[in-house]
């Protein structure tokens, strides 16, 4: 099984005619993802990889049904496009990096109001291996299986998934929640779904410096999650006050350190790997 995204999920690509939008539409289609339409204002009537382009989501929905939208719309125009997708009842994956925080807050609030899922922003997306890919991840490292994975980092996901796959551990669903300080879906939302998914036997959580989402998650896991969890936290050697790539990866004063997150997870009974490759060792020990 899988969570949130499966082989039947129908997808609209926002910003489909752009460089990223068109490239990834091709890759998603090759993977078998059910892309039903694309949107780029002013380009209605065109086709990208055989997918019809519409001027707006409203126009697209007159012709097709969909549950998801994936946005490649540039940061300065992202808010309006995302709010519109939510207004039209679509769950959202926001790949775009560089969206102003106040805009992200509006998007996240709207999603809450409409009880819809927003994954991201500044994320690689979500993939349920061998079923559907809604994102930009390199599909060849993923394999279907029983391990769930949730991560703030895209490339670290690929790194650890590669290790998992090589060691015979396939994945049920992998979600990149993104590197921004304010994101839609967080670890807990995904863990709730993994708890219900009978095919997910264990979960890997990949965190990093900044904020307190890992600490909150650790507390929640202790009380609510029955399956084994292994974690890896990036940024153990990060200096204070400097943003490391991701807008959300910054230690403020003594808040948001990797140490604080590792301690929180360990207190909650979660095994924390010292190196990305060690996540597999720890997983073997638990299963």
């Amino acid at each position: 099984m899988s969570i949130m995204l499966n082989e039947n999920s129908k997808i609209i690509v926002l910003g489909i005619t752009g460089k990223q939008g068109s490239f990834h539409t091709k890759k998603m289609l090759e993977y078998g993802s059910k892309i039903v339409a694309g949107v780029t204002p002013g380009k209605e009537g065109l086709e990208v990889e055989g997918i019809k382009v519409f001027n707006s989501i409203e126009n697209a929905l007159k012709v097709v049904k969909a549950e998801w939208a994936i946005s490649f719309v540039p940061a300065r125009f992202a808010k309006d496009s995302c709010l519109n997708a939510l207004k039209n009842g679509l769950n959202l994956v926001v790949i775009t990096e560089g969206i102003p925080v106040l805009d992200s807050l509006e998007i996240v609030e709207k999603a809450k109001e409409k009880n819809l899922i927003v994954i991201g922003p500044n994320c690689p997306g979500i993939i349920s291996p061998e079923k559907s890919k809604l994102g930009i991840m390199p599909e060849h490292v993923f394999k279907q299986g029983n391990i769930g994975l949730i991560s703030r980092s895209g490339t670290l996901t690929y790194e650890i998934v590669d290790e998992l796959t090589r060691n015979g551990f396939g994945q049920s669903t992998c979600i990149g929640i993104g590197g921004d300080p304010v994101t839609g879906t967080d670890f807990i939302t995904c863990l709730k779904e993994f708890e219900k998914d009978s095919d997910t036997k264990a979960v890997i959580v990949i965190g990093e410096i900044g904020g307190a989402v890992e600490e909150k998650t650790a507390e929640w896991i202790k009380e609510n999650f029955s399956k084994p969890v292994v974690a890896y936290i990036a940024g153990v050697n990060a200096p204070e006050g400097k943003t490391l790539g991701h807008a959300g990866a910054v230690i403020s004063g003594n808040k948001g350190t990797a140490k604080s997150k590792i301690t929180a997870f360990e207190k909650a009974g979660v095994k924390v790997a010292e190196l990305p490759s060690k996540t597999v060792e720890l997983l073997k020990g638990l299963l």
Partner: protein
């Protein structure tokens, strides 16, 4: 983007928040003029070092002095450093009457995913200290784009301070009007007559600067090192660190993990550099140029897990850089993912060491540098 105190106060003033009377002094100032100005502010003045670091007070960056002695004190301050930051500007302020000190800030609570006003009757101390020792003295209120009267009411009644409503309103205007990420007034002083922002901490959202060109006038050059500035010109995410092994990678999390893996094997990274997804040959060259600006580098570790990034592009970039520049330090590369077979071939043909795992690379680096 961080503002210095005097810039923050300039901004507050524009939005109707009272600030102490002051003037800014830099090196090679006109002594007669400065003494005159200081004396016109009163018998005593407060000298405040304008540096982009916290803990300034404890490090001697805030001094109350006799206006008669302002010249010598200024010369002393402008000749010193605080936590590695040279003091190049000093704000000379009137000494205000600290009848009561409060705390007020407006910031983003990223974990609760909303904006929050934090107010306290305990001003002048670190708010985290108050949160620990006297949490009941703190008011924390969620606020949205619409500033509702009842929020202002709650802050003012909890602090027994009706005048604070106006200040909170101004902060809210600044926050939403200019895309701030933090606005803090600590202490917010009641001098017997009115509320004055005795300090100003202002941070703007870098992601929103594209829609606030007017804020660029506040850009402070010292927020970044020389190499960091060069990296920014290239559009690279880069942070200078203190070690001697350069690091280049694709994806922030992977780069952070690279730093951690190096350290695990006893190697000290010299920097963080994320070329981002889909880096071109040109970007790779720029990344190498940037990293190699650091003096006394002993090696460079390149860690690429190519998803959207093509390994052959990275390899071409490395090879081209090598051909055009004398590479004085060993390059250890980890290349895996899209087009990795082609990429590895290109590197091997050009005698660049290539490995399959991060840990192997880290061990190799340690071996080389000893």
């Amino acid at each position: 983007m961080k503002l210095k105190e005097f810039q923050g106060k300039q901004l507050f003033k524009e939005f109707g928040i009272s600030v102490p009377k002051s003037f800014l002094v830099e090196k090679n100032f006109n002594e007669t003029l400065v003494k005159e100005k200081a004396l016109s502010l009163g018998k005593q003045v407060v000298l405040k070092a304008q540096v982009l670091t916290g803990g300034r007070g404890k490090a001697g960056g805030v001094k109350v002095i006799e206006s008669q002695k302002v010249i010598e004190s200024l010369k002393k301050m402008l000749d010193s450093e605080i936590k590695g930051f040279k003091i190049e500007q000093v704000l000379v302020e009137e000494k205000i009457n600290l009848e009561k000190e409060f705390y007020l800030s407006l910031t983003i609570d990223r974990d609760e995913k909303n904006l929050v006003f934090i107010a306290s009757s305990k001003g002048g101390v670190n708010i985290e200290e108050t949160a620990e020792k006297e949490p009941e003295k703190i008011v924390k209120l969620k606020v949205g784009k619409n500033l509702e009267e009842n929020i202002l009411e709650e802050i003012s009644s909890k602090l027994k301070l009706p005048e604070i409503k106006e200040i909170a309103e101004s902060l809210h205007k600044i926050f939403f009007g200019l895309d701030a990420s933090l606005l803090e007034i600590n202490p917010l002083v009641f001098d017997g007559k009115k509320l004055i922002a005795a300090d100003a901490k202002v941070l703007f959202d870098d992601n929103a600067l594209f829609r606030h060109q007017e804020l660029l006038k506040f850009k402070n050059v010292e927020e970044e090192t020389e190499i960091e500035r060069k990296a920014k010109e290239f559009g690279l995410a880069f942070v200078e660190l203190t070690g001697n092994v350069g690091v280049i990678g694709c994806g922030a999390g992977l780069v952070m993990a690279s730093l951690d893996v190096l350290k695990y094997y006893g190697v000290n990274p010299a920097n963080f550099l994320d070329v981002g997804g889909g880096a071109s040959k040109e970007k790779t060259i720029q990344a190498l140029e940037t990293v190699l600006m650091k003096k006394e580098l002993k090696a460079v570790f390149v860690n690429i897990f190519g998803g959207i990034t093509r390994c052959d592009d990275i390899a071409q970039g490395i090879v081209e850089f090598k051909e055009k520049n004398e590479l004085k330090v060993p390059l250890i590369v980890r290349l895996i993912g899209t087009n990795d077979v082609i990429g590895k071939q290109v590197l091997e043909e050009n005698n660049v060491g290539c490995f399959d795992s991060m840990e192997e690379c880290a061990r190799k680096v340690k071996e080389i540098i000893g």
